[in-house]
Symmetry: C2
Subunit: 507 residues, 2 copies
């Protein structure tokens, strides 16, 4: 018996295994489609500090709708736009993109947008139309399909339009099969939660029945755009090192270290090279195989490196998180906290958390958890996520006066140049001990504030009850005593009430 | 601001995102390495009905071991071997392999073995040595590394040896970084559970301290090898259909349907084409875009197709499952059950389950769950798996006389031409309703047997107690009465005892 062997393209791989990218069935697929495209659009705005204006429309191709059904998807953004020559590959070729950098973006795999178009193609045999401009005098329109077996775009038509208004942005339109009725709740949830973490965006969504959903920006304050960074020494392996050596112009190892690694200066470079037993004058391109291994091993064991640079990260900040939570849940009490930057395997990350009490937070059913990663709401597979584990298994909420019926919502936002997702579908975050440590400490911090608030609240409630008693009986006693003393003027009890209240406060 | 775009190879993609393939850290990586290579070896045997002989060795490169440390991995099997010309790509190129077929194999992604070698390369800068023969007069030895950026193998050396003994099989050897002390428990668990579902294999494992673990076969009975099959109409989409049209020689649609689809005969083909409103005489290669869409839509809505063919599947069978469970847990009671074949999205699958009571099954800590998919033990992310959900959330065990302290183990084996894994690391199975339905029905069936057994067991225990009372007092009464009657011969109470026991049985 002999076996036949075959090479498949990455597009073919993800076509065959689309489940692992979140395209399991018509309901999940339409959710993933909207999500991936919205994320690309938001990235395209934030990268250049543009206040996002995103328009999303799902319209039925046939009426009446009977799900699963064919829908036309249209997404418009005012992002930086795409240069004409990359448009076909950016939408018609898997593993092609601008996301393969050390930078905090929503996209990391360079996969989602193309999977949406691929899924549309295999279910409806349709073509995708892309219109984009970088804000110069022209805009470009492409009609394309994907050659899945070759992983290449096939351009059917392309047109150039004038662009007097200097519009910049991207419009994507294609047909796909979806089950909107099943996906609706999740899609709306996704947009609502996006509005929480992106409170500076205008999102408009028109659903298949023509219903408008508007999520207006609550602020024009934007976090600073994320910047690209060089790798931290703790994040490198032999392959990375060899790739850097391939492209470097450095003539000495000392210069090499300073130029290509994060937070390595003159002194760190010298000390490390001494530790590694490699001359600082050595030419990087002349390193032997053995020296490369030696270098990487030394990097792992050297403890003198500064921790990864988090200035490239773009967390929300306490103010924006506060704004977002208030807008969504209108709670009685909010506490937010941002931890200082930490790192895992050479990647910097920052954890931000919030707790919200009362207001529109529902009372039963445990703690309402909102999870975010690089400003993406994560809605699936909650129980496998690190934030769920910390919130539900590791926090001793009772210690913070939180009892089972307390109306409590917890928000966890993790941002990093590399989010440790466990799946290509970006549903949940692996339990890295470093991340776990930050999440629990952040939650403890906000829980302390919550505990103080709850304690005050209980005290005030007791006090109010006590004063209610006074205010009920004191006037009666005053009236009765006046009558008894056969006097006419009922004495003023307000003074007494005030002193009772004052006394209570001093307790 | 302009963005830079880049195309990356699939090897580069999985190198950057090795977490999603199960290569997260040195402990997880060495577990995944062993697992992926053992699975490839077992596939290489079973495909041709060879009784597997697998030898696995992990030896330290330096002593004393201080984890994470560099280990040499060596795996030998007696499988069908690889033709010389495919050896380099089979081990040095991602998305190349023999697993991209509709057939029940452990491997599905064509990824695991290469990821193991890739991980070894990026952590130790080592080369992989492969020796293989298909059992002819030659064996081939390759020393290679991977060009990750190009996704191509680089052959450093290759040699041809004579092979007088007509040995067939494959030997893989390379160095890798691992944390064996942390991974040990999981690796041993994995091998133990593999021995349960592959009771016809001999597995030998030599750990870094030179300890031998032997898992000897308990039977020479093997399930029949899995066979390759054509797609079921319900599993096709536009892309699949177009690919079949590209390669077909059929001149009519009727012939096309019969030749390329599972369980479609003359009558089904005719009826379906009439339903789809496509002439059965039409030439497949002349179908228009619209007709292709029409065909695929009709396929989805046509209910006259026979259900997918499960003869291509190779379940364990009740006997082997029984053998495996007995060998592992030596329980007091076993019940096993195999469901009839079912299907999801055109893929056939079979669910087999077992319950084991008593013996070496631990008493506390809930139900011990063993999960298997195409004869792979699944050890990670249990709580996200469909079998966990059914066993722990959906089964009403109390109904079957199972109380919290009952020493109970549950085995679930799912085999299919396509296991709906949720991750590339093959850790857990998505909750497809069709699969859920089969698992719960199978568990109910074995639970009924268990319930009968437990009921009998309780009855017997009560009965034993009752007879114990008789056997304690009857002889005394007999003696006493004899004395009282001043007789000498004490009457035989055995007859009375027997009738008490008989009476009890008739109750």
């Amino acid at each position: 018996m002999s076996e036949t062997f075959q090479e498949i393209s990455p597009a073919d791989f993800f076509y065959r295994n689309r489940d692992i990218a979140g395209f399991t069935n018509p309901s999940r697929a339409i959710y993933s489609t909207i999500r991936e495209l919205v994320e690309n659009s938001l990235d395209a705005c934030e990268i250049n500090g543009i206040l996002p204006e995103i328009y999303i429309r799902i319209s039925p191709e046939k009426e009446p709708i009977s799900d699963p059904s064919i829908y036309k998807i249209r997404i418009e953004d005012n992002g930086i736009g795409l240069p004409s020559n990359v448009i076909p590959s950016a939408f018609g070729q898997v593993l092609f993109g601008s996301k393969y950098k050390l930078r905090q973006t929503r996209g990391t795999f360079g996969l989602g947008g193309k999977m949406a178009i691929l899924y549309g193609q295999i279910t409806t045999h349709g073509q995708a139309k892309i219109i984009s401009s970088i804000g110069d005098s022209k805009s470009y329109e492409y009609t394309l399909t994907m050659d899945i077996q070759k992983n290449r775009p096939i351009v059917i038509k392309n047109k150039t339009h004038g662009n007097k208004s200097r519009w910049h942005g991207t419009i994507v339109e294609f047909t796909t099969e979806g089950d909107y009725s099943r996906a609706m709740a999740k899609i709306l949830d996704y947009l609502k939660q996006t509005a929480i973490v992106v409170p500076y965006a205008n999102l408009t969504f028109v659903d298949p029945r023509g219903r408008f959903y508007k999520f207006d920006r609550a602020t024009t304050l934007m976090p600073k755009p994320p910047t690209e960074t060089t790798p931290h020494p703790h994040g490198i392996d032999i392959e990375t090192l060899k790739r850097i050596i391939d492209v470097t112009n450095s003539r000495t190892m000392k210069d090499f270290m300073k130029r290509h690694f994060q937070r390595v200066g003159e002194s760190t470079a010298r000390k490390f090279l001494e530790f590694a037993d490699i001359s600082y004058k050595r030419k990087p391109k002349n390193l032997t195989q053995e020296e490369i291994v030696k270098f990487v091993n030394a990097v792992k064991n050297y403890e003198g490196f500064l921790s990864p640079d988090a200035t490239c990260l773009s967390p929300l900040g306490k103010e924006l998180l506060n704004t977002g939570i208030k807008k969504e849940l209108n709670p009685e009490f909010i506490a937010v906290h941002q931890r200082r930057a930490a790192a895992y395997s050479g990647y910097p990350f920052i954890v931000e958390v919030g707790v919200a009490y009362g207001g529109d937070v529902p009372k039963s059913g445990g703690i309402l958890l909102y999870r975010f990663a690089n400003r993406i709401p994560l809605l699936f597979d909650e129980a496998s996520d690190i934030s769920y584990k910390v919130t539900n298994d590791m926090m001793n909420w009772r210690h913070y006066r939180v009892v089972p019926d307390t109306p409590l919502a917890v928000f966890v936002h993790i941002c990093s140049t590399k989010i440790p997702y466990k799946t290509v579908g970006k549903e949940f975050i692996a339990d890295r001990p470093e991340v776990e440590h930050e999440v629990i400490n952040a939650l403890r911090e906000v829980a302390r504030h919550l505990s103080l608030f709850l304690s005050k609240k209980h005290h005030m409630e007791r006090e109010k009850k006590r004063l209610d008693v006074f205010s009920k009986y004191l006037p009666k006693i005053a009236r009765f005593s006046t009558k008894l003393a056969k006097k006419k003027k009922i004495p003023d009890v307000k003074k007494l009430m005030r002193s009772a209240a004052r006394y209570a406060k001093e307790e």
